[in-house]
């Protein structure tokens, strides 16, 4: 069970969450595409060839489409000069994809994006005439091929630092500019992504923030795995996350619901069911509600011992029809087989809480 990671490499879930714009972008794009991705075979590659790659497979495992994203955050807007070097890199990526030996479908196509969270402003002046193109909140996506010819010309010319080969230029047709609507600070980005999780998954996920964090964590784990080799080829499926891997993560997120509020609310029903008298009710409530919190803390050994007891004796669930009978049976079984330093009332409350939690996460 226990993976003995080197704790320096794996510096924890909290430490880096949300700090990485590329990954935030990946999640943003993933959530945006989720409805379409659901019914498709695809894979994601992080930080190889390009910051983010979405690959779409047809049924024969041939590549039908590739989307690559070079993701850069910025605090100021992008202009022609700042973009030339990036465009050259993207063009090279485009060529690498073409050269990659991964089997491709007949109608294979690719889109190569520059993605950023600030405005992209492309312009040129020809004969005192100003031509410009803005990619921002109002206009999130612009294809290179749709640019004004004058602007295209200006880009193709390059600069004294950046020179485009003819091969580069032949790949410009797949170039795209993309505005990603993510805020400046990591904290605000996380909040936005949490909201996006909520929009996409709604009530299928109990805790969207926890789901986002876990998804982020899963990406970090996979990235660590990917980083262990050298140059990644698209076909090397050790270096990519496949759709079924992601499906299983989503499955966990949608199926594992910890409904703390729901469980806590059960106490009134239970008091009645378990014949807790009025005198003891408040104490019972206190112990019952505290139990859910104490189960979370590994240091609370007595509570965890009782929780494990309920887990390890799941057969009891099958033997009874009512909650009351089942809890009573757990209680007497515990007293027969184990001993506890807790008082009877405390024990009853802890067993009831463990029972409710286990029953509702089965």
């Amino acid at each position: 069970m226990t993976n003995n990671y080197n704790s320096e490499v794996n510096a924890g879930v909290h430490t880096n969450i949300g700090m990485d714009f590329q990954k935030n972008c990946t999640i943003y794009l993933f959530l945006e595409k989720y409805n379409q991705l659901q019914n498709q075979k695809y894979f994601i590659i992080l930080e190889h060839l390009e910051d983010v790659i979405f690959g779409y497979l047809d049924n024969q495992t041939e590549l039908s489409k590739i989307e690559t994203y070079q993701a850069k955050k910025s605090s100021s807007k992008w202009t022609n000069s700042g973009l030339l070097e990036i465009i050259k890199k993207i063009a090279e990526t485009s060529q690498s994809v073409l050269d990659d030996p991964h089997p491709k479908a007949v109608d294979f196509s690719q889109d190569n994006y520059f993605a950023t969270n600030n405005t992209i402003e492309l312009n040129c002046k020809v004969d005192k005439q100003q031509y410009s193109c803005l990619v921002n909140e109002a206009n999130e996506h612009y294809k290179y091929s749709a640019l004004d010819q004058n602007i295209k010309n200006k880009i193709q010319k390059g600069s004294k630092d950046v020179y485009f080969t003819s091969e580069n230029i032949s790949n410009f047709d797949t170039l795209n500019f993309r505005f990603i609507d993510l805020a400046r600070t990591p904290k605000a980005q996380l909040e936005q992504l949490e909201g996006k999780f909520r929009t996409v998954f709604g009530e299928n996920i109990a805790d969207h923030k926890a789901a986002l964090y876990s998804f982020y964590f899963a990406l970090m784990e996979i990235e660590k795995e990917l980083n262990q080799g050298n140059i990644a080829k698209l076909s090397d499926n050790k270096k990519r996350i496949d759709s079924n891997q992601i499906d299983s993560i989503i499955n966990i997120l949608t199926n594992k619901k910890k409904a703390f509020d729901f469980w806590r609310e059960k106490k009134d029903e239970l008091c009645e069911e378990l014949n807790i008298n009025l005198f003891d009710v408040t104490m019972f409530e206190l112990h019952y509600e505290n139990s859910f919190d104490k189960f979370k803390d590994i240091n609370e050994s007595e509570h965890n011992k009782i929780f494990d007891f309920v887990i390890n004796n799941k057969a009891t669930f099958k033997a009874h029809v009512t909650d009351r009978a089942c809890i009573a049976s757990y209680h007497s079984k515990f007293n027969k087989e184990k001993s506890s330093t807790l008082s009877e009332l405390q024990l009853k409350a802890v067993i009831a809480a463990a029972y409710i939690e286990v029953k509702n996460t089965l």
Binding site: Y5, G12, K256, D293
Partner: protein, 576 residues
């Protein structure tokens, strides 16, 4: 129906020196033999030690220093069923494994006054259906564990001279001898006597009260005056009183709300403290990063665990926020309630002042209230005397259900008669001279024997066998193995030794085990084979300590023959 204990086997193990002793006990006779100081008495005392008895700990000091544990495998027979128990005692801790494999742990029982020892006592009392209560300066309480074993155990030295002295420290109970004998013989016990005394006291109290009320009625002149005052001031008084009482009701409502809100606040604070603590600890239990607090390995980082971790964390954070919010609101509500209460109190106080000052014709309302009380008192007196008389009759009726002192004496003398017959028969078969004086044969009077030397020894033997036999006639009394430590005194010659063993063989109790120890040196005129073959025949299970030649030889080197049992004992000792 009787509860009977059988000890099936004993294991003594010293992990430190890797030494052990193990033997089984059979039904009928179990004869422990070996050289003087081989460890026969030690074995017997270890049995008592394993039941939580601390009285003989000093004598066991030497073997306890070897860091041993003692394990007894026992069967307790009840009317309908048999149950198996394992008792393991190691130093201050006693573990009991019951029929359901449940292990009970009593920690820190080496002082008889410790809470754990009291818990153990209650457990054993329940196990053996034992309910003797004894009276001391601090009142009536449950008798010590030693008294469960006392009738069935004759200790090495003192046990063969005095009665009921096999354990020390039982002297300070009041009427110990009577209570002890009454309990074991099924005659009225202390509970009954306590109950009876209570009823007698109650009757006394009722009679005094009736007399008191009768006197008041006759002598009090104020009662006559009260009626006059009542008519003068009634109207105004009622108005003021109803005013005050309404305000008081309001105040009471406020105070009740205040108390219930205070309790809610405490509840929330207690919740908050748990949640805060969990939050702090939880932070350090991050999957993939932090160590497990018990096994020091990094906690697993599967996606399920990570998701759970974040869900738990979010829940804790939300809960903490909610609780803090509620506490804040409740606190401010309490503060405003408190203000209201203060102002109500001031209000009522000023009403009182008005009330006390108001007067008509020199009669104040204060005086009016006094006289009101007197009128009430007069009505009550008559009622009270009636009720008290009825109560008195009920108590007198109850008292009739208890045995009178004469009845108890009759029962005692019945039992004494049975005892005397048995005692005399046994004395005769042991060749003891007949006894004429009552104080030497009346069960409730015997405290010493008019003999010395061998004859004293034989008389004690005879007494215990007669008493054990008498106990079989008490229904509902527990029966334990009859344990006789050292049935030979040092200077008993062979003829008497044979006589003692023959007597034991003929008269040992048939419903329990008998465990006895005798000294026998293999190298010096050993008779153990003769005893076994000629006296005990098939009745005895022989247990040898230290090859019959060694001293202080109870424990021997571990030959792994009891490996499984020792392993199993450690499992029990390590039960959480």
């Amino acid at each position: 129906m009787k509860t009977t204990l059988d000890i099936n086997s004993i294991l003594v193990y010293s992990e430190e020196n890797n030494k052990f002793f193990q033997t089984e006990f059979k039904s009928k006779l179990n004869v422990i033999y070996g050289k003087n100081t081989a460890g026969k008495s030690t074995l017997i005392q270890l049995i008592l030690f394993a039941f939580g008895i601390n009285d003989n700990k000093i004598k066991l000091a030497e073997i306890l220093a070897e860091q041993i544990f003692v394990r007894l495998d026992c069967t307790i027979r009840y009317e309908q069923e048999e149950k198996n128990y394992v008792f393991i005692r190691q130093d201050e801790t006693l573990l009991i494994k019951d029929d359901n494999e449940k292990v009970l742990r009593f920690n820190g029982i080496s002082s008889d006054n410790s809470a754990e020892h009291v818990k153990l006592k209650k457990y054993l009392n329940n196990l053996f259906n034992f309910s003797l209560l004894l009276e001391s300066n601090s009142g009536i309480s449950e008798a010590p564990i030693e008294t469960i074993f006392l009738p069935y155990y004759v200790s090495q030295e003192v046990g063969w001279v005095y009665l009921r002295k096999s354990f020390s420290n039982l002297n300070f109970y009041k009427n110990f001898k009577e209570d002890f004998l009454d309990y074991y013989l099924g005659i009225e016990n202390v509970i009954d006597r306590g109950e009876k005394r209570k009823i007698e006291k109650e009757i006394n109290r009722l009679q005094q009260q009736i007399r008191f009320y009768a006197d008041v009625e006759k002598e009090n002149q104020d009662l006559k005056l009260a009626n006059v005052i009542d008519q003068t001031l009634e109207g105004k008084a009622n108005e003021l009183i109803s005013n005050i009482s309404e305000r008081k009701n309001n105040l009471l409502d406020l105070e009740n709300t205040y108390v219930s809100d205070s309790n809610k606040l405490t509840f929330l604070n207690q919740r908050l403290s748990v949640v805060s603590k969990v939050k702090r600890n939880h932070k350090n239990q991050e999957p993939g990063k932090d160590n497990c607090p018990t096994c020091t390995q990094i906690l697993p980082s599967k996606i399920e665990d990570v998701y759970s971790f974040f869900q738990e964390e979010n829940d804790t954070i939300n809960l903490q926020r909610e609780l803090k919010d509620k506490i804040k609101k409740l606190q401010s509500r309490l503060n405003s309630l408190n203000k209201k209460i203060e102002s109500h109190r001031a209000d009522i106080k000023s009403c009182y002042l008005t009330f006390n000052k108001y007067s008509e014709n020199g009669l104040t309302l204060e005086r009016y209230l006094d006289s009101k009380a007197n009128i009430q008192l007069f009505e009550n007196l008559t009622k009270q005397i009636g009720q008290l008389t009825i109560d008195l009759e009920i108590e007198k009726e109850k008292l009739k259900e208890y045995k009178t002192d004469e009845e108890i004496l009759i029962e005692r003398s019945k039992k004494s008669k049975i005892f005397k017959d048995k005692y005399f028969t046994y004395n005769a078969s042991l060749g003891l001279p007949s006894l004429d004086e009552e104080r030497f044969y009346q069960l409730y009077e015997i405290s010493s024997f008019p003999f010395q030397g061998v004859q004293l020894h034989l008389a004690v033997l005879s007494y215990h066998f007669a008493f054990n036999n008498l106990l079989t006639e008490t229904s509902d009394i527990h029966r334990l193995p009859f344990i006789l430590d050292s049935v030979f005194k040092e200077d008993i010659e062979q003829g008497n030794k044979n006589k003692i063993l023959k007597f034991i063989n003929e008269n040992f109790p048939k419903d329990t085990q008998t465990i006895l120890s005798i000294a026998d040196d293999k190298n010096v005129d050993s008779k153990i084979e003769d005893y076994k073959n000629e006296i005990f025949k098939d009745n005895a299970h022989m247990i040898c300590i230290g090859n019959g030649t060694e001293e202080k030889a109870l424990l021997k080197d571990n030959d792994d023959s009891q490996k499984e049992l020792i392993e199993n004992s450690f499992e029990i000792l390590e039960t959480i």
